[in-house]
């Protein structure tokens, strides 16, 4: 088995202590566990601190627009469906700006893996509240504390039709890389919502807070086989906060719906047109 460092000449620019470091390591470990090298995998990045990762992660990739990594990923997947396609996205990127794409990618059961760096803030724009921010969180855009209810990415995915929904923690390297491997191996839309401490703009939810509150759902005997139960768990956030696999289901992925992809990837499909028959219908 060959292992890859995926390194470039850029150094990570995340704040010291940022949860993104841990996630990055887990991502690389997961790739190595699956023996996927820089030319074997495609990463579509959002814009945010999370997205900056592309500069130190050498693979086929696309650092596109804020909120749009899921459509890009789906386009790539449809054109090259044998390649694993992952999204590196944030809570602002994926659930704020890109919320519509999120529910629709899940609905289509697009065969992509979404790694959501969930820190409750817009990190890169210096700390406004994101859609997952918990009530009370004081940020630049909510000087008196967040008032509305947060959105749960996991619950949204479950509602919209995702077939693999999990939550991980940036501080749990091994657990997280295992979840990523499962998510990538899953055929269909997979989400790993990753609890990520932002040490600079979200002081309320740091490593200690998460360590104290999370518990491993799958070791409680919970079986991820029921959408309603999964929804219930995905909405849970209080004294205890579950991590692990919430839901898993086998259902044809979006790319399974296209007959022609059984032959070859779209990129390699020739242009075959019988001009006579093509024009016949217009005569």
């Amino acid at each position: 088995m060959s292992t890859f460092g995926f390194t470039t000449d850029h150094q990570p620019t995340w704040c010291p202590g940022c949860g993104d470091f841990g996630i990055w390591t887990s991502v690389k470990n997961a790739m190595n566990a699956m023996e996927l090298g820089p030319d074997d995998v495609f990463f579509a990045y959002g814009i945010g601190c999370h997205g900056n990762m592309y500069n130190w992660m050498k693979t086929y990739g696309f650092a596109g627009l804020h909120g749009r990594s899921l459509p890009v990923a789906q386009g790539v997947k449809l054109a090259h469906h044998t390649m694993p396609v992952l999204c590196i996205t944030g809570d602002g990127d994926c659930i704020g700006e890109g919320g519509n794409h999120f529910i629709h990618a899940a609905k289509r059961n697009a065969d992509i893996t979404v790694l959501l760096f969930d820190n409750q803030v817009y990190g890169l724009t210096t700390g406004q509240a994101s859609p997952t921010a918990r009530p009370g969180l004081k940020t630049k855009s909510t000087p008196h504390g967040v008032v509305d209810m947060p959105l749960s990415p996991a619950a949204l995915a479950i509602t919209a039709g995702a077939t693999f929904v999990a939550r991980g923690f940036a501080g749990d390297g091994k657990g997280l890389s295992d979840l990523i491997v499962k998510a990538v191996r899953h055929k269909g839309f997979s989400l790993v919502d990753i609890l990520q401490p932002c040490v600079t703009f979200n002081k309320d939810f740091g490593y200690p807070w998460y360590r104290e509150h999370i518990y491993d759902l799958n070791s409680t005997g919970y079986m991820p086989d029921n959408r309603v139960k999964a929804f219930d768990k995905a909405m849970e956030w209080g004294e205890k906060l579950p991590v692990g696999v919430f839901f898993e289901e086998e259902r044809p992925a979006h790319t399974d719906q296209y007959e022609m992809l059984k032959k070859d990837i779209l990129v390699k499909q020739p242009v075959v047109v019988d001009v006579e028959s093509m024009l016949h219908e217009f005569i």
Binding site: D39, N55, G64, V72, V267
Partner: protein
């Protein structure tokens, strides 16, 4: 006997108005005539008044005439709305049940030919949807045609539904035909002169033409959110996806559409989107992204009446400035605007090659008039071979010893070779941030400047491929019309009308709008008197010309009421 007849049919949506127009066009196209059909309908699904106008001629047809010679009115409202556009001695076919008229009810004297459509249906126990078939039979009698080709088309069209349906349709057609012959005699003033040599002609609307051309050009991926006037592109692609190994995806919105298309493009397939102004507005950020990552993309931008929702089913050409300047930051793009179905073929196939060759977004500025009119075009025009040039694309693995630089700057046309996904050692980042040659981010002043210069270098390279405007008509004309896109046909016919008045006019017609074709300057300078003709209220091409040449065209004929130009109207609005 006449060279040309303009026929119009009108009724509520659901009456089969559109299909009657297509069928009439087909009948005559198969019989050695040229045709052209336009439609008008309100932005609703049922009710209202749908109109189709078909011009049939022994010669080529470039535009619709302002007046009609035959009107088939399936509702009273149709008579009311359309009578003002009938020419002298026009024939009006209508069901007397819908209303009784005398010639005096019309602005100009017309010949009334009531045909008891409903009564005939009743008599033959035929269903209401066949009303248009009777009207077609009656039409053929009026135009001096036969039922032969029509019957053939009925067989082809309804064959799948069984003999009963076919025969019922033929029977009602015959009834309509006979009714006219028997009641009004076999000669009318509207008999068409015999058609010419029979050439295989396509009756195709602009959207279908674009779909066919795109497939010919190797289109593999299209993500299109529904929107008038490009819905027929969706229908064409969705219906033919399996047959031609192409992928049509309906995205949740236009933003997703363009980003999916860019993903597919970067992965290595020819990819396109189609939309109208409002949908394109949502793609503007993605356009800027395409410019930055240098991804090929073809955008069918179907114009209609704006701003905002405007008049969604009517025509206008007011998105020229918009598409040229859309997107934040500066980057090259190409803007093409077909004027008719021939142009659609040429420019669509060119668009895909240009997009790949220069790694830029390429616009096909179409409009409602182009997309939804049914054009008549020789099959041979569309049967030509299409050369596919994917540009600088690397599909072979790169040796371990080489370092691949996606945005290498040592190229003199600004275009760097790109890999497709999966090429060994070919990985790179398509980066929306400013980047170095390897695609990774830079904020360094010098690297930024170099990368802007690289992208801007394409302007010169593209200019060398630019298509000069078409100069048609007398070189020494006194009047030179300057126009673009679909005003081509009306202006061309206006020139003919002027020549009938012994006024020599010619036309400079732009299909390549941007980067502004340098050759246009000389052409414009030579003209004695320039007259701008545009389907918008601001004279956008005029602005573009002044911006790039300094030439100010003061004389302008602009139309922005949602209706296409009629040749007569252009002549009328000239100060002669």
């Amino acid at each position: 006997m006449r060279d040309t007849v303009t026929w119009k049919i009108g009724g509520e949506a659901g009456f089969g108005i559109m299909s009657a127009g297509i069928m009439l066009s087909r009948i005559y196209a198969r019989s050695g005539y040229r045709t052209f059909a336009t439609n008008e309908y309100p932005s609703l699904i049922r009710g209202g008044l749908n109109l189709v106008t078909v011009r049939i001629s022994t010669k080529s047809v470039d535009a619709m005439s302002r007046e009609q010679d035959v009107l088939v009115a399936l509702t009273k409202k149709c008579v009311e709305e359309c009578k003002k556009d009938l020419s002298e001695n026009s024939i009006v076919i209508y069901d007397p049940k819908d209303g009784e008229y005398t010639s005096d009810d019309f602005p100009k004297p017309v010949r009334l030919m009531p045909v008891p459509l409903l009564a005939i249906l009743h008599e033959l126990n035929a269903s209401l949807v066949m009303r248009n078939t009777i009207a077609m039979g009656a039409t053929l009698a009026v135009l001096g045609g036969t039922l032969e080709t029509f019957s053939q088309i009925i067989k082809e069209q309804f064959g799948r539904k069984g003999d009963e349906v076919v025969n019922a349709n033929i029977a009602v057609a015959q009834k309509g035909y006979d009714y006219v012959k028997n009641t009004y005699g076999s000669e009318t003033s509207m008999h068409l002169a015999p058609g010419g040599a029979k050439e295989e002609l396509l009756i195709i609307n602009g959207s279908e033409a674009l779909g066919v051309s795109a497939v010919r050009a190797g289109l593999k991926f299209a993500a299109i959110y529904p929107m008038t006037p490009i819905n027929s592109v969706i229908t064409y692609l969705a219906d033919h996806a399996k047959k031609y190994n192409i992928m049509y995806v309906q995205p949740e919105d236009e933003i997703s559409g363009i980003n999916m298309a860019l993903g597919a493009s970067v992965a290595g397939v020819r990819s396109m989107v189609a939309t109208s102004g409002g949908g394109f507005a949502l793609m503007v950020e993605g356009l800027s992204l395409a410019g930055m990552i240098e991804a090929p993309l073809v955008i069918d931008m179907g114009m209609r009446v704006g701003p905002a929702t405007g008049m969604p089913t009517w025509t206008e050409s007011s998105e020229l400035d918009f598409v040229i300047s859309a997107g934040h930051g500066e980057f090259p793009r190409i803007v093409l605007a077909p004027g008719d179905a021939e142009d659609v073929f040429d420019l669509t196939t060119a668009a895909f090659n240009l997009a790949d060759r220069y790694q830029v977004p390429v616009f096909l500025l179409t409009d409602k008039y182009l997309n939804e009119s049914h054009w008549c075009v020789p099959k041979n025009y569309y049967a030509r071979t299409v050369a596919i040039d994917r540009g600088k694309m690397i599909t072979e693995d790169i040796p371990d010893s080489e370092t691949y630089l996606r945005y290498r700057t040592d190229v003199d046309d600004g275009v760097s070779p790109r890999t497709v996904t999966g090429v060994a050692n070919g990985n790179f980042i398509s980066n929306s941030y400013e980047h170095r040659q390897d695609g990774l981010m830079t904020e360094e002043a010098n690297e930024r400047r170099i990368m802007v210069d690289k992208r801007n270098q394409k302007f010169a390279a593209i200019q060398s491929a630019a298509i000069a405007p078409a100069h048609t008509g007398d070189d020494n004309a006194d009047i030179t019309f300057v126009t673009w896109g679909t005003t081509k046909g009306p202006v061309r016919e206006a020139i003919k009308l002027l020549s009938g008045k012994n006024i020599k006019a010619n036309m400079i017609h732009f299909t390549w709008l941007y980067p502004f074709p340098e050759k246009a300057h000389e052409m414009l300078k030579k003209a004695k008197r320039l007259v701008l003709v545009e389907q918008n209220s601001m004279g956008q091409l005029g602005g573009l010309i002044r911006k790039y040449t300094g030439i100010h065209i003061e004389e302008r004929i602009l139309k922005y009421d949602g209706r296409p130009f009629f040749p007569e109207e252009i002549v009328k609005r000239m100060t002669l």
